[in-house]
């Protein structure tokens, strides 16, 4: 107990010390700077950028990271991420882009003439910093990361400035015109939301922005907010008509990586959201293809997030981002990291649902990867037959009511905590043609863009929205993976057209059906106002589903510890058992000693507190003796008897029974019958069952038990069939003595056998013991009743405080006693011996 307490105390002290000494995270504080830049097509526009610089935590010259914010945000939006990166030893610069936050200037949509020039000058500024590592004079080691609007500036800057060494663009566009006008259909809700975020900036930040009285706006501000007038005019034109003019497309493309992606030399980690109806996975796909075509290393990640919500996976993205920068900014060679991060970099990593955590029942995400980015066509395809007749669909006048798929901004409003697909998808009756597969025989993991060939007949150009539903059964509403739709325009009278469905990663479970729906309306898009009707049918009855089997490959068998741990445990267990095995003294049964029932030599046993219960005890018992073991309470009689039974290990000395050293479970104990410190029975069993089962437990033949003789000694009569718990103390006592006599052992050890017996029974017991010894067996009896011992025993051993005081025949002992009037009494001798004179 003391040792355990000491151990606990030591551990507590150790834990406290470790806690105190453990290095705490370095305090990171940003330095606010206003950096003046010059931009514009003629390099004549002065803009002040509001920036914060976070020096690297480690000191010295460190690689730098530029962190860009999303549309409508400011440098404050990325502050937390900047602090995390600075803590990892990067010099981090955040800034509010022109037209955002407290920076001056107007929004030019990441134009090469405006925002890109700004960022190049920020890189110049970094090159002047004493704590930023340089590749050459004026060329800092720098990476750029950012989401959405900030992702695009990363790509644009990398294309225009060769000093950029690595970029991590997230949920961003490749071609803004394609993102806002997919297949020429205006994505009106997203476009409206997107542009409104560049509106007049409130003077106050945060909550006070909602409560403060708004400042009166000038006409220009109200109309265009902080947009550059040219951008504003372009948007107003296309939003009013729902049609992209060539000039608008040119403006949007100039602000898009599509125009310059082939020039990017900085290794690029493209992170795109699986829940993104604004910049879907196809945008990252286009970026990846263009950048890879230039021979630049590219990795593509599809994570659980995007402009429509999802989990966001902040920690996972941070980890991957850090991996990427560690790999390309920390090392001199391309692609080999100091800490071997190269092994973890793959061509393609996606996030998939991994069921629930068994402990917390929370959703967990898996991140399977493939060595190569397969594109949206997959590495192999599965043909899924679809059936359905040609169907009539109508475009309602005014495009109203419209079908609903993803509702822009809803995911954002619900926040990153929104789990799963809200599943608000609704097809209006009469507007959709539906084609369905048979229930799938096996699960189908779709990764990429499925394609299908359809035929449309009708007047004029048709605008259709293609969706791929997962239909579980009749009872469950179909789900639209990620809420994505693909708009298609079918030119008048053209007939057949191949529809490319939205890029998703979705698992259709076995038994589910795949349903293709083609609707004439979608709330998120501008659709023709004129009523029209078409006949929609399948031109080819199969849906081509891309798959990437490499991703599904099981992750290299079970985790290593699932086999290593049990093996180690079994080895440890074997070690625990092997080292715990006591060296058993060979039972040295010499023939002359084999006739000696009991021989005790130098027996010593100390209590835990060091006090000796038995101290150097030695005596011998010969065959045929009835030995009385005498001594006051605490003399060590019971301890000695327990050692005879192998229950307690002696500290020193030994006990031999018929020549064999007594060890726990020594076979010679089978010749010992014992009754020590009270009876021990199973209270729920009858007396007879107890004895029978005890004998069976010894494993010896039933006929050796001499059960009837023992039961006669017990003298329990019919009570033998009752449960032991109903017995009186005397009955248990007699049953226990009977149990000790089962098998008529050669050596019988009885501790206080007459306790609880009435006088006739005591008398009978006396005769039984004498008779027992007469047959050449040996009996050892301990007792307090000296008169009893005197009458029963032939020999006596007297113990006191663990030591032998006297041993010999009763008659000898009595002979040594001094007479005090009447005959010698054992009581007098005993008291004399233990030193308490009467």
């Amino acid at each position: 107990m003391k040792r355990a307490a000491a151990l606990v105390a030591a551990l507590a002290v150790l834990a406290t010390v470790v806690w105190l000494v453990w290095p705490s995270d370095a305090e990171i504080s940003g330095q606010e700077q206003r950096i003046a830049v010059v931009d514009g097509p003629g390099d004549d526009q002065r803009v002040e950028l509001d920036t914060t610089y976070f020096p690297p935590a480690g000191g010295g010259r460190a690689p730098a990271v530029l962190l860009a914010h999303g549309f409508g945000g400011s440098k404050q939006s990325v502050r937390a991420q900047a602090v995390r990166l600075a803590r990892q030893g990067y010099a981090v610069l955040t800034w509010s882009a022109r037209g955002f936050g407290r920076s001056t200037g107007q929004i030019a949509l990441n134009s090469p003439d405006y925002e890109v020039k700004d960022v190049k000058q920020l890189i110049d500024w970094l090159a002047e910093r004493p704590d930023v590592r340089l590749d050459a004079a004026g060329d800092p080691r720098v990476g750029i990361a950012g989401g959405s609007y900030g992702g695009a500036i990363a790509l644009m800057t990398a294309a225009h400035d060769s000093r950029v060494d690595a970029i991590v663009p997230m949920i961003t566009w490749n071609d803004l015109s394609e993102a806002l006008f997919p297949n020429g259909v205006f994505k009106k809700m997203w476009a409206g939301l997107f542009f409104s975020r560049g509106g007049p900036s409130p003077d106050a930040q945060g909550l006070s922005a909602l409560t403060a009285q708004p400042r009166p706006l000038s006409a220009e501000e109200a109309r265009c907010g902080r947009f550059l007038p040219a951008v504003c005019a372009m948007y107003q034109e296309v939003a009013a008509t729902g049609r992209a003019t060539p000039a608008a497309i040119e403006t949007l493309r100039a602000s898009s990586p599509v125009s310059v992606a082939g020039r990017i030399k900085a290794p690029t980690l493209l992170i795109q959201g699986q829940r993104d109806s604004l910049f879907p996975l196809a945008q990252a796909d286009a970026n990846a293809k263009a950048i890879a075509a230039a021979g630049t290393p590219v990795e593509v990640m599809w994570f659980d997030g995007g402009h429509d919500g999802g989990n966001g996976e902040v920690d996972w993205l941070d980890e991957r981002l850090l991996d990427w920068f560690d790999r390309y900014l920390r090392t001199d060679g391309q692609g080999t990291s100091a800490k071997g991060a190269a092994a973890t970099v793959k061509g393609f990593v996606i996030t998939r649902d991994g069921g629930r955590d068994p402990g917390t029942r929370q959703r967990i995400r898996l991140h399977p990867g493939a060595d190569r980015y397969p594109g949206l066509a997959g590495t192999s395809t599965t043909q899924v037959p679809l059936t359905g007749p040609d169907q009539n669909v109508a475009n309602p006048p005014g495009g109203n009511p419209a079908s609903i798929s993803a509702v822009p901004g809803i995911g954002g409003l619900l926040g990153a905590g929104a789990q799963g697909n809200p599943g608000v998808s609704l097809d209006m009756p009469g507007q959709s043609a539906v084609f369905e597969s048979a229930p799938l025989a096996e699960p189908l993991q779709l990764t990429g863009t499925p394609t299908v060939k359809i035929r449309v007949q009708g007047q004029g150009e048709a605008t259709l929205f293609a969706k791929l539903y997962d239909v579980a059964d009749a009872a469950t509403p179909p789900t639209l993976p990620a809420g994505l739709v693909a708009p298609v325009r079918v030119p008048a009278g053209s007939g057949e057209v191949t529809v490319t469905l939205p890029a998703v990663d979705h698992r259709f479970a076995a038994g589910h059906r795949v349903r293709l729906a083609l609707t004439t309306t979608d709330m998120g898009y501008a659709t023709p106002a004129e009523p029209a009707s078409y006949v929609v049918g399948l031109a080819s009855p199969t849906l081509t589903v891309p798959t990437v089997p490499e991703l599904a490959a099981p992750p290299t068998g079970p985790v290593w510890w699932t086999w290593a741990l049990p093996l180690a445990a079994v080895a440890a267990a074997a070690l625990i058992l092997a080292t715990g095995r006591r060296t058993v003294a060979a039972p040295s049964g010499t023939s002359e000693r084999a006739e000696v029932p009991l021989e005790i030599a130098g027996l010593t046993k100390a209590y835990r507190n060091g006090e000796k219960a038995v101290d150097g005890l030695s005596f011998t018992v010969e065959k045929g003796q009835v030995l009385g073991l005498l001594g006051p309470n605490g003399a060590g009689k019971t301890t000695t008897m327990r050692m005879m039974m192998g229950l307690i290990q002696p500290d020193d000395g030994e006990i031999r029974i018929f020549g064999d050293t007594v060890t726990p479970g020594a076979p010679v104990l089978s010749r010992l019958g014992s009754f020590v410190e009270g009876p021990g029975f199973l209270p729920h069993l009858s007396g007879r069952d107890n004895l029978t089962l005890y004998w069976q437990a010894t494993g010896r033949p039933p006929q050796d038990a001499h059960m009837e003789e023992a039961l006669e000694i017990a003298g329990l009569g019919t009570a033998l069939e009752r449960a032991v718990r109903t017995y009186s103390q005397g009955m248990r006592q007699r049953l226990a003595i009977a149990q000790a006599m089962l098998g008529l052992p050669d050596l019988l050890v009885l501790d206080e056998p007459t306790n609880g017996l009435d006088p006739p029974q005591i008398r009978e017991m006396r005769e039984v013991l004498k008779r027992y010894a007469r047959d050449g067996r040996t009996v050892i009896v301990s007792s307090h009743l000296l008169a009893e011992v005197e009458q029963t025993c032939s020999h006596v051993v007297v113990m006191h405080r663990g030591r032998l005081v006297s041993a010999g025949p009763v008659s000898d002992l009595l002979g040594t006693a001094k007479h005090n009037g009447h005959g010698p009494r054992l009581e007098d001798v005993f008291l004399d011996l233990i030193g308490e004179k009467s």
Binding site: P358, D473, P558, V559, A573, A574, G646, L647, E677, D746
Partner: protein, 283 residues
């Protein structure tokens, strides 16, 4: 080796399993526990009969909502509600009580002096205690399957969460996996209870100690800050058997759970044997 033992004595014949089974069987706690485990499914059946009937579609299909879908669903439900505590108590009782109660009754010293060698005594007792524990873990879902099938019919199993169905005869072997895994995962409780049983003379102490460990471990595994360390908590994978009833059988969780369980058990049982071998029996 001189033959100094009594005639007919052989260490390998001491305390036969049959004897130990009989010794334990007639105990009240054994009979009460089995009675409870066999009655529980019927109590649940009655509870479902009296409870308000679900009408209308449920969006999130929970195991309890599906319990009345059929015998298999009902058995899965019965197992899920009892595995976390009732079966733990049953297993802790059979394994924790076995040596400690003998010490408590003083019968342990007579067995040891019979003599039943100490390793053998522990081995036989462990085998019988594990046997009773296994019977307890098996009898509950089997009785639930019988009761559920009689009352709710023999239907395909409906998976919680997605509501998919798996044909009944496909899932029957999976049910064997479920029960097998439930057995393996209870091994930790069994071995800890057994270790405590050899340390203390109080049967309640051994049972309570093992149940206490399960409670502490369950609390710890809810602390997500512990991260992947939680995977090594003895109770972390206790519900992994649900993977066996998913449309696609997933061995991952159950493999890990079995590994953790076997690891703890091997070491705990080894310690039990080592301690008991050297222990001074003073009870």
């Amino acid at each position: 080796m001189t033959t100094t033992a009594a005639p007919g004595y052989a260490a390998r014949r001491t305390l036969p399993l049959r004897v130990e089974i009989v010794r334990q069987f007639k105990r009240r706690r054994t009979l009460v526990m089995f009675g409870l485990l066999l009655a529980l499914p019927w109590i649940l059946v009655i509870a479902f009969q009296f409870g308000p009937q679900n009408t209308g579609q449920q969006n999130a299909l929970r195991l309890s909502d599906l319990a009345t879908q059929g015998g298999l669903n009902f058995a899965a439900f019965a197992l899920s509600v009892s595995a976390s505590f009732l079966l733990v108590v049953a297993v802790a009782l059979f394994c924790g009580d076995t040596v400690a109660s003998e010490a408590n009754w003083s019968s342990l010293r007579y067995l040891l002096a019979a003599p039943v060698p100490r390793d053998r005594l522990l081995r036989q007792k462990l085998v019988v205690a594990l046997g009773y524990s296994a019977a307890a873990v098996i009898c509950l879902p089997v009785m639930a399957l019988i009761a559920g099938t009689l009352v709710f019919g023999w239907n395909d199993i409906q998976v919680p969460g997605t509501g998919e169905t798996i044909p009944a005869f496909d899932v029957l072997p999976r049910f064997g996996i479920v029960i097998g895994y439930a057995l393996v995962s209870q091994l930790v409780v069994a071995s800890l209870a057994f270790l405590l049983s050899t340390v203390t003379d109080s049967p309640l102490g051994a049972v309570g100690g093992a149940v206490g460990l399960v409670i502490v471990s369950t609390i710890l595994q809810a602390v997500e800050a512990l991260g992947s360390l939680r995977e090594f908590l003895p109770t972390f994978w206790n519900t992994a058997w649900m993977d066996a009833l998913a449309p696609v059988l997933d061995w991952g969780g159950m493999t890990k759970g079995a590994a953790v369980s076997v690891t703890y058990s091997a070491i705990l049982i080894a310690i039990a044997f080592r301690r008991f071998r050297r222990k001074d029996v003073v009870s």
